[in-house]
């Protein structure tokens, strides 16, 4: 590490993140290394101290900006009249929701490939959980992060964010119209979502393909594909090498994975 690299690293450490009483033990080893250089290089030390004073002064000034006096009260009042989401409603609605979830679960159970293992009921990270959560994402989808009908542009956008669309864009070659993409989160992992209009259809996207790093799953790599349907969406979830795919298509499809490739 040279002086410029040390400056680069230390510039990114916020004022409150280094324990001045024990500066050589931050959790990031690169920061620790840069701090050791500070101790041995007077010019770097002078730069560092000046930089820290500047950061502290800017941070202090920005913290002085006061929100409007009534903002907090206004937010709290707004929350009191916000329609209560399902998960906070009374017991009837809650049990109705539980029943609906169970019904979908039973349906999923009947459609699961008989040769595969079912979710292990652990703390999370199974293929089945991924499928359930992603189906929920698709149902609640309210827009995309990046809109384009150009597969190269969508791929570039995702790759610039260190996400690999895998074979998700293959659906475009199969006549489905690319609409755009979005990044969603699942158990701390980022998932790319690519949206299409089904071939020959107009309006809202009816085909969604999600791709995630298979390391996010806790279940064995030999686990087979899973399928689900809720009457509106047909879904399939499967592994392919080091990726996990989720595909949801509007309408009834025995194996919606076929939408990704001709035939």
């Amino acid at each position: 590490m040279d002086i410029e690299e040390a400056k680069f690293i230390l510039s990114a450490v916020p004022p409150g993140r280094i324990d001045e009483s024990s500066p050589a033990t931050p959790s990031d080893p690169e920061v620790a290394k840069a701090l050791r250089m500070v101790e041995n290089d007077p010019a770097l030390k002078e730069w560092y101290e000046r930089s820290r004073r500047f950061d502290a002064a800017v941070a202090e000034r920005l913290q002085e900006i006061e929100p409007p006096a009534d903002l907090k009260a206004s937010i709290l009042a707004g929350l009191r009249v916000t329609p209560t989401p399902l998960w906070r409603r009374g017991p009837v609605a809650r049990w109705s929701a539980v029943a609906a979830v169970l019904a979908v679960g039973l349906l999923v159970g009947t459609l699961v490939d008989p040769g595969t293992s079912t979710p292990d009921g652990g703390t999370g990270g199974t293929l089945g959980e991924f499928q359930g959560d992603m189906l929920e994402e698709v149902r609640g989808l309210d827009g995309m992060d990046f809109q384009s009908n150009d597969p190269a542009a969508v791929a570039a956008w995702l790759r610039s964010r260190e996400l690999d669309p895998g074979s998700a864009l293959a659906a475009e070659a199969n006549g489905h119209a690319l609409v755009g993409c979005k990044i969603v989160q699942w158990k701390g992992y980022r998932v790319s979502l690519v949206c299409f209009r089904l071939a020959g259809e107009e309006g809202m996207p009816g085909l969604h393909v999600m791709t995630m790093d298979a390391a996010a799953l806790e279940t064995p790599s030999g686990e087979g594909p899973q399928f689900a349907s809720d009457g509106t969406w047909s879904a399939a979830t499967w592994r392919d090498d080091d990726r996990v795919y989720f595909l949801a298509a509007k309408g009834e499809h025995a194996d919606p994975r076929g939408l990704l490739s001709p035939g």
Binding site: I9, S11, F54, D55, L62, P68, L71, L76
Partner: protein, 185 residues
Amino acid sequence: MKLNPKELEKLVTAHYATLYRFALSLARNEAEAADLTQQTYFELATKGGQIRDLNKAKSWLFTTLRREFYTQRRQSGRFISIDEDGEREMELSDEVEDNAVRQADARIVMEAMNRVRETFRAPLVLFYLDDLSYREIAEILDLPIGTVMSRLSRGKRELRGRLSESLRRDETPDNVVRIPRASGE
């Protein structure tokens, strides 16, 4: 995770001021910043079930506010310098004395921050407002860590230059700087 009214109120108390300041740096307009902050908590109340860990709520709030800002801008057709990275590096003097910054008031610092290019402004404001690590900033802005570090480094250089300009201008007796800038000004 289920957020009850008490948890919601706690999250409002803990973060609304910082969220407002972040919104102000994006919108550069007080009314819009207040509206964005309120809208973010509305999203929390209606979609809070998506947050699986209460410790992640802060990141979720910042991410949601930023997304909401861009959504509103897209919908209103007001936009946006999408990528200013291609611009040449600004030739600004970064000779600003730390004492001068300490003696400047918040409005001068915010005015200088508002003139930092948008690409750098969001990571800088997150860095200064809430002691977020570069990893957390990367998560909120959905950028690679190296990009965040680079933007912080370059953004600070630009901020020093802008502060230097602002401090010089503020010494001019007939100068009036209104902070934050209303849109369209």
